[in-house]
Symmetry: C2
Subunit: 301 residues, 2 copies
């Protein structure tokens, strides 16, 4: 009984995140590495034009264009609006998808290590996160549940949803071997997991683990001209997923003064100093710790 | 007796290296920080259009356009060709410069720490490098002597030449507070040094120190289609200025195999995995250790 028959691995959804782009090249040369007995694997470079330009995107972030309303809105005519519709036709369509599962490969300039990002509490997907974390114990669960049809991520157009592998720190526009190898390994575990599930074997059992959920993006301070007047504080730099307590340093102004976190509850940082968010003057994301619940056996249900 | 009367600090010569850009903004707000009694200090954002586009350059690398032949070649009509001519008019002209000294602020995605780059053995400039190194002991001398008129760097259009402050690792398109503060500190030492020289005080004496000189750029391996087939090896990543011995790992192919350094003499890496050189498929620079000689007292001569 195969419940998963078609898997897609996507890369270059952000054109200057080269790890996925080059893994796709490698797997096209060596398909056996991503082939499993009980499902087929497709490889898709999703934004080749942005990749060629070495930019995250040309007109708008491709990985925010996949909610059902935008996919069906013919007035959205930007380059990535159009790419999203094409990818939806190719892998979806979202309402009745051809592909069962999508693994989308991303990198970050933030020191987020191996981050496993998933937007559903479906046991198949949560089980994958737990399985990869078992194989790669330093990895972090980044969990932000949202209805699949409303979800803006590319992964949401697959029938059983999908999974983002997000690895850093690596600058945009280059490869780091450690990040490349970690992404390659995590993808292998994802495929192994799906193969086990197809064989009726659950490698994980119902349980609760710690994860992080997005609260809000935090802007860098600006002056009246809209220019940034501060940067991420050195104490916070590279401290992704560590607690930020009330009164902790958050930013350092251009003249070297410290601005503190003025909230009254502990939060956690992620995407700290992510280059992709700099044009919007976003310094980091605040996250909260959450319990991620694998509610039932991914096979038995 | 003031021998230096006009100093220029330049930033954003590479538009996506934001540290210099924001230091210039800070110093415009707080000019006292870069003001010294015995010379004037000018602040110049040299490639604002590339900075606005968050790109290193629009048409060609601005910091390769300042040799005397290119400056006088009216057939070079690209955007940065033109900017170079304008900057030469503003700060030079190279044959008879108005400005005495230029400090140009750069960053790198490579793990090069505080690198002091200078292209002349003139005691004034070598003395500055030694002085900054005395104040910031972890810094590295990056010395590549070339005739001032032939030199392609922006700094070469000043009468007494100039000095690049090159700090990393920091991704393109963002600020890291540690890199910002280190650059700010090094600039302060440069200005203090020039002020001492103007007062007839030599803070450094003739001596020889270790530095690194550029040998060649090393390309990443490519296939017949001109695509890269390997990346910087994990053992080499972040190991700028460390020895590379014959037989040491140099690259890791996309399938994970190791390619070794096949030369027969010890070299040293720099600009290892610099994002700016990725479009040209440059993996690193080979450097050699050299003796940097402060031939005479910078004041007495």
């Amino acid at each position: 009984m195969s419940i998963i028959s078609k898997v897609a691995i996507t890369g270059g959804t952000h054109g200057n995140e080269l790890t996925g782009v080059h893994l796709l090249k490698h797997w096209r040369e060596t398909p056996s590495e991503v082939t499993r007995k009980n499902f087929s694997t497709e490889l898709h470079l999703t934004n080749p034009k942005a990749n060629k330009a070495n930019r995250r995107y040309l007109d708008q972030d491709l990985n925010r264009q996949f909610n059902i309303h935008d996919l069906n809105n013919s007035e959205l005519t930007g380059y990535e609006h159009s790419r999203a519709k094409v990818i939806n036709t190719l892998l979806g369509p979202k309402e009745n998808p051809r592909v069962d599962f999508i693994i989308d490969l991303h990198t970050t300039t933030a020191n987020m290590g191996m981050s496993l990002i998933f937007n559903t509490d479906d046991p198949l997907v949560v089980g994958m996160a737990f399985y990869v974390q078992d194989q790669m114990p330093g990895s972090t669960l980044f969990f932000d549940p949202v209805d699949r049809l409303e979800d803006t991520f590319l992964t949401s157009i697959a029938r059983l949803n999908g999974f983002l592998i997000e690895v850093g720190a690596v600058p945009q526009g280059l490869l780091r071997a450690d990040v490349y190898q970690a992404t390659r390994e995590a993808t292998r575990h994802c495929l192994d997991y799906l193969e086990l599930i197809n064989q009726g074997i659950s490698p994980v059992q119902p349980q609760v683990r710690e994860g992080f959920r997005f609260i809000e993006k935090v802007k860098l301070p600006e002056n009246e001209q809209g220019e940034i007047t501060a940067m991420v504080h050195p104490n916070l730099q590279d401290q992704d997923y560590q607690p930020i307590n009330p009164g902790d340093p958050l930013f350092m102004t251009l003249d070297g003064s410290t601005l503190i976190y003025e909230g009254d509850k502990v939060v956690y940082g992620a995407f700290i100093n992510e280059a992709a968010y700099y044009d919007a003057h976003i310094g980091l994301s605040f996250m909260e710790k959450v319990q991620v619940n694998l509610k039932s056996d991914p096979v038995v249900g």
